[in-house]
């Protein structure tokens, strides 16, 4: 799925997009950084409640290309700055993490 696919959906709002042709092949959810390190697949979207700048380093190491936070959360400004430096897409969802995951999962399965 291209990231443009997600931006078109009213449940997601873009915060920073490197390139909307970037491909998402998989996804992972979690808030524990070492657990993400261990299990998250590459070329994936990561749904999390963490908004601090350390998530950018985690994402770039395991090659997560997009981070999405659920409704009611905001990325710290330093996080956005680092996302730009490291070419990581940032999105906000207008729904909770469960629903957001459901929407993305369905889109990926349908491919």
């Amino acid at each position: 799925m291209k990231i443009s696919e997600l931006i078109k959906d009213k449940n997601f709002e873009k915060v920073y997009i490197v390139d909307d042709a970037i491909n998402i092949k998989n996804g992972y959810i979690g808030d524990l950084l070492s657990e993400i390190m261990r299990n998250a697949p590459g070329e994936s979207v990561w749904l999390t409640h963490q908004t601090h700048p350390n998530i950018i380093a985690v994402a770039s190491i395991v090659e997560i290309n997009t981070i999405i936070i659920p409704e009611g959360f905001e990325f710290e400004s330093e996080t956005i700055k680092k996302a730009k430096e490291n070419n990581i897409n940032l999105l906000k969802s207008r729904c909770n993490i469960f629903k957001a995951a459901g929407i993305i999962y369905t889109k990926l399965i349908e491919e």
Partner: protein
């Protein structure tokens, strides 16, 4: 050992007399509990090809030593089902981790035992030392010194690091990548690991390998910032057949390495936990993603983590 070879060992050892026992010993030592049967001990000795084992209680506290000589006594006068406690030698001569090679030489002059358990400052058995350990350590040392003879002085000043994993010398001059870890800012965690990642990418290293190396570096870097209370260093060597990593800090050290290695164990504060650290998965991740790993830690002096990744 013949008197001549003893003499030779003595001579060579003088040269290294200040080396700590902790560096030479075999660690961890194979140990048994007092309840173990003599039969089991006999099997362990046979399988592991060793001739004596420290006997420990809970928490690796030393209570005795059981050796081939004791087993012979059992065969003559006892039953193989007897417990170790009945036959072990209780008055054990020990060495401390901080003792030096010259302490080993004098204790073995005095008692002529084959092996001495090595104890740390918490009275735990952390290893065992025999003449064989000393000889093989020296052999390795002399071997590397021969090759690097022009830098002999440096080796003695310990500016270089002898790999705990392979025994080879990891030469400062051949470092492919190094990075200073700034521990004052939690936000900077991962800077070193990401830099190393792009460095390895440029060198054309296999993607999967890069992933393993960078995850492991990230975890070690995070630990230095979060736990050590000291700055640290990342060193990476890109060898023909392997990638080597050394992550060092000069901080408080890990009190109980065995415990720290357990999945889920963490002393992280509430504050850093709320940021997603402290799952107690960092060290287990390093172990999982590297092919070989070792931790050297001294309370109050810091932690050295060495990892090896085959290409």
């Amino acid at each position: 050992m013949t008197p001549e070879s003893n003499k030779l060992l003595e001579k060579i050892s003088q040269f290294f007399s200040n080396i700590r026992i902790g560096e030479i010993m075999t660690s961890p030592a194979i140990v048994v509990t007092p309840e173990t049967s003599i039969k089991q001990v006999k099997n362990i000795m046979k399988i592991k090809k060793i001739s004596g084992l420290p006997v420990v209680k809970r928490g690796l506290k030393l209570t005795g030593i059981i050796s081939i000589e004791d087993i012979i006594k059992v065969l003559e006068n006892g039953k193989l089902e007897d417990s170790v406690e009945r036959w072990m030698t209780k008055d054990v001569k020990i060495l401390y981790e901080e003792n030096t090679l010259s302490d080993f030489m004098s204790i073995s002059q005095k008692y002529k035992f084959g092996r001495y358990p090595v104890i740390n400052n918490e009275n735990k058995v952390i290893g065992i030392i025999t003449k064989y350990d000393v000889i093989s350590w020296l052999f390795e040392k002399l071997g590397t010194m021969y090759i690097h003879d022009d830098r002999r002085k440096k080796i003695l000043e310990r500016e270089e690091y002898t790999s705990r994993l392979t025994g080879e010398l990891l030469d400062n001059k051949k470092i492919s990548f190094d990075f200073d870890i700034d521990y004052t800012e939690i936000q900077r965690i991962g800077t070193g690991a990401t830099k190393l990642k792009s460095f390895l990418k440029k060198k054309g290293i296999d993607e999967k390998l890069i992933r393993k190396v960078s995850i492991s570096t990230y975890e070690a870097e995070a630990n230095v910032v979060i736990h050590s209370e000291s700055y640290g260093k990342i060193f990476c060597w890109d060898f023909e057949d392997s990638i080597r990593l050394l992550i060092k800090d000069y901080g408080k050290g890990i009190e109980n390495v065995e415990m720290a290695m357990q999945e889920g164990f963490s002393t992280a504060s509430e504050e850093v936990r709320s940021q997603g650290f402290g799952a107690g998965m960092g060290l287990p991740n390093m172990k999982r993603f590297s092919d070989k790993m070792t931790i050297i830690s001294e309370v109050g002096k810091g932690v050295i983590i060495e990892m090896l990744f085959y290409k």
